[in-house]
């Protein structure tokens, strides 16, 4: 059963690529069907509840050294994640049928989407680090292909390259982390690792090198920094919005970027060994959360606002992992997948209706034109901002509670981020959906077809009830029962109200931007900083190497040898003048020299 989950999308991707691609509607249908099969199989596995069961085939076997399997691990963590990935994925597949209806490359799109589903489900099911790494890279590849789906647009091609290269940086750290784990414990299998880590004493190599366990943890965390777009490597995610909107929803909001957090939870028992690692993880998460939220307050592109919001929420999850609250992190991952997919699909619906207009200042008044999209978008906004009784409220409070118990500074950052989240989301909602129409396109727009509104409705329903379901699945008890729960509850309601009222009050009747903060609008100049530090430095290095290659290697060594041969040939050519007497003279001189030499040096023979 586990293999069906994994293989259905792969079969779909291969079929569409090789056979079905001229048949546009059938390609889309096959891809949706494959996703539905995965979802059905995931539900069955979830209900069967085979806790910790593994079905694996051995791939590499070097006895006593390394055994790598390709297996499907279905435990509490992965079955829930499977449900989220395939469930949200199914909604988005259906939505994409409507959104991509008129695109000439729809077959290619669905083939890549299926490839992505295969890779993502592979990460979730992976029973060892090596297999996870392989699917991790596959996910990076399909992300690259889908961001660059409209590759004829230079910005999309650039964004795809940027995402791929930045992710490579993180992946390299991840690979080092995996090697470190193998070096320390001699296995990469999650089950065996968990047993040997919990077996009291550390391995000898780690006992001798206390720093190593921190470095291994940081290596693994590097993978998360790249894939989940945490602070130093966050720059690729906003640019990834160049891809089609369903891709942004599925990959760059709901599932793939959450893979980093999922991986952290999977290997948490290793991270846990080093308090320093956890400290760094929590700090990076907190920085990302507030940093991205500040930038989001000044963006004008509807998808970019949501992208920075995604960054901020991922920061929340990573922060929770750093505070040992993995179940809160997974809970927030789950609810976030619901409402962020919903928000992106809502944005997609708007963009589709307005013929690819993404600037919120050219929208306005969509509430009347697109009631279903607007209503579901409002639900998504409320869920994201932590409105009481909706999904985000519960998961965010779980994280805030963990922060309050661990680190008061991080708690403060998280609370401020929550207020900012409410502020920028209500700014977005007020500008795009309320008020007066700001462009002619809005006047003529109308509600999207049912194939797009149906997934919106389903996800909206999940965004409402996800909190209650997830709370049972992840936390097991209502969060307000914990010590300090009441304080967190009231504080989070207060910051939600503050942010929401602030956003609405400032922007409800605004004709243009009311608040100007250049540093936020320019994303803290991070792209410019990277340009100056890394791109230009690398360009300089490249130019130096180019010079060396051109003049030293190419000029002096390669062409130098050729020039040497040519010049010496030219000089020696002068000797062969064609004059017989000159030849005779040389010949005679040679004979005289030989005679002299024989007489001087071979005297003793006579």
């Amino acid at each position: 059963m586990n293999w069906v989950i994994l293989l259905a999308p792969l079969v779909s991707a291969v079929l569409i690529t090789l056979v079905l691609h001229p048949l546009r509607k059938i390609s889309a249908g096959v891809s949706v069907l494959a996703c539905a099969v995965s979802f059905a199989a995931s539900v069955k596995v979830f209900l069967a509840d085979g806790a910790g069961s593994v079905s694996a085939v051995t791939w590499l076997d070097y006895p006593g050294l390394l055994t790598v399997t390709i297996g499907a691990l279905t435990d509490h963590l992965s079955t829930l994640m499977l449900l989220i990935v395939s469930g949200v994925g199914l909604c988005i597949h259906i939505f994409a049928c409507g959104y991509m209806k008129d695109d000439p490359g729809i077959s290619r799109f669905f083939a890549k989407l299926s490839l992505f589903m295969f890779s993502m489900l592979g990460i979730v099911l992976a029973d060892n680090l090596v297999m996870m790494f392989i699917f991790w890279e596959l996910v990076g590849l399909s992300s690259y292909l889908l961001i660059g789906f409209w590759f004829e647009r230079p910005s999309a091609a650039e964004a795809a390259k940027k995402a791929f290269i930045v992710n490579r940086l993180g992946d390299f750290g991840f690979l080092l982390g995996i090697l470190g784990v193998w070096w320390a414990w001699g296995t990469v299998d999650f089950g065996e690792l968990k047993n040997s880590v919990s077996a009291a004493a550390l391995p000898a190599v780690l006992a001798q090198n206390p720093l190593a366990v921190t470095l291994i943890g940081l290596g693994l965390f590097m993978g998360c920094i790249g894939k989940s777009a945490q602070f130093p490597l966050h720059i690729w995610l906003p640019d990834a919005m160049e891809g089609p909107t369903p891709v942004s929803a599925l990959i760059h909001a709901a599932t793939m970027v959450a893979a980093g957090v999922y991986m952290l939870c999977r290997v948490f028992f290793i991270l846990e060994l080093s308090p320093q690692t956890l400290q760094i993880i929590a700090t990076i998460g907190a920085i990302t959360a507030i940093f991205a939220a500040l930038i989001a307050t000044q963006q004008n592109d509807i998808k970019r606002i949501l992208a920075y919001s995604t960054l901020s929420q991922l920061g929340y999850m990573v922060l929770a992992v750093g505070l040992c609250a993995t179940s809160a992190a997974m809970f927030h991952l789950c609810t976030h997948a619901f409402f962020k997919a919903l928000l992106f699909l809502g944005a997609g619906s708007v963009i589709h209706a307005l013929h690819h207009e993404q600037d919120i200042w050219r929208m306005g008044g969509l509430w009347k034109k697109m009631p279903i999209t607007a209503a579901t978008f409002l639900i998504g906004t409320l869920a994201l901002t932590g409105c009481p009784l909706l999904a985000g409220f519960f998961s965010k409070d779980a994280i805030l509670l963990a922060a309050l118990h661990n680190n008061i500074w991080i708690f403060g950052v998280a609370i401020i981020t929550a207020a900012l989240t409410a502020y920028y989301m209500f700014r977005l909602f007020a500008v795009a959906f309320l008020g007066q129409a700001r462009s002619a396109a809005v006047q003529h727009t109308h509600e999207s077809p049912p194939v797009m509104t149906l997934p919106l409705t389903v996800l909206a329903a999940l965004a409402v009830v996800g909190g209650y379901l997830g709370q049972q699945a992840y936390l097991g008890q209502p969060h307000a029962d914990h010590a300090g729960g009441g304080l967190v509850l009231w504080l989070s309601v207060l910051v939600f109200a503050l942010g929401a009222v602030g956003g609405l009050w400032l922007y409800l009747r605004a004709k243009s931007e009311r608040v100007h903060v250049d540093i936020f609008a320019n994303k803290f100049y991070s792209d410019e900083l990277y340009q100056a530090l890394f791109v230009n430095g690398q360009q300089l290095l490249a130019r130096i190497l180019d010079w060396i290659d051109r003049w030293i290697v190419g000029g002096l060594i390669v062409r130098g040898l050729a020039v040497l041969a040519t010049v010496s040939g030219e000089i020696l050519r002068l000797v062969q003048g064609g004059n017989v007497q000159a030849y005779a003279t040389v010949f005679i001189l040679g004979v005289i020299f030989l005679c002299y030499w024989v007489m001087v040096h071979l005297q003793h023979l006579f």
Binding site: Q576, G577, G578, N579, V580, Q581, Y583, A584, T585, I588
Partner: protein, 107 residues
């Protein structure tokens, strides 16, 4: 007082050397191909003179040198026939006997 009491091997060899050098200089320096040829003949005859002198004044005088000289004269006669024929052919082809104009012997 006698200036020259007896003509010895050294006198012959000196004469032979002088003739050889004159012939060699003619081969190396003259431009007319007929004169070069004459230089070559002079060098052959210088060698003949040395051979005959050794044959008469050598450590064990015998007729071996004479035999050698006859061979050389015979071969030189044949060589003259071939060489002059070549020169005539060359002159017909190039209308010159100046070696400075005959520079096609190169790559």
């Amino acid at each position: 007082m006698e200036l020259v009491t007896q003509i010895t091997l050294n006198h012959y060899l000196t004469l032979s050397g002088v003739l050889f050098i004159i012939g060699l200089a003619g081969v190396m320096l003259r431009r007319n191909i007929v004169v070069i040829y004459m230089g070559l003949e002079l060098m052959l005859n210088a060698a003949n003179l040395a051979l005959v002198a050794f044959s008469r004044f050598g450590v064990a005088p015998n007729l071996d040198g004479h035999v050698m000289v006859f061979f050389i004269i015979t071969v030189a006669a044949a060589e003259v026939a071939v060489g002059l024929a070549l020169m005539v052919a060359l002159y017909r082809l190039k209308q010159t006997t100046n070696t400075g104009d005959l520079t096609s012997l190169k790559f």
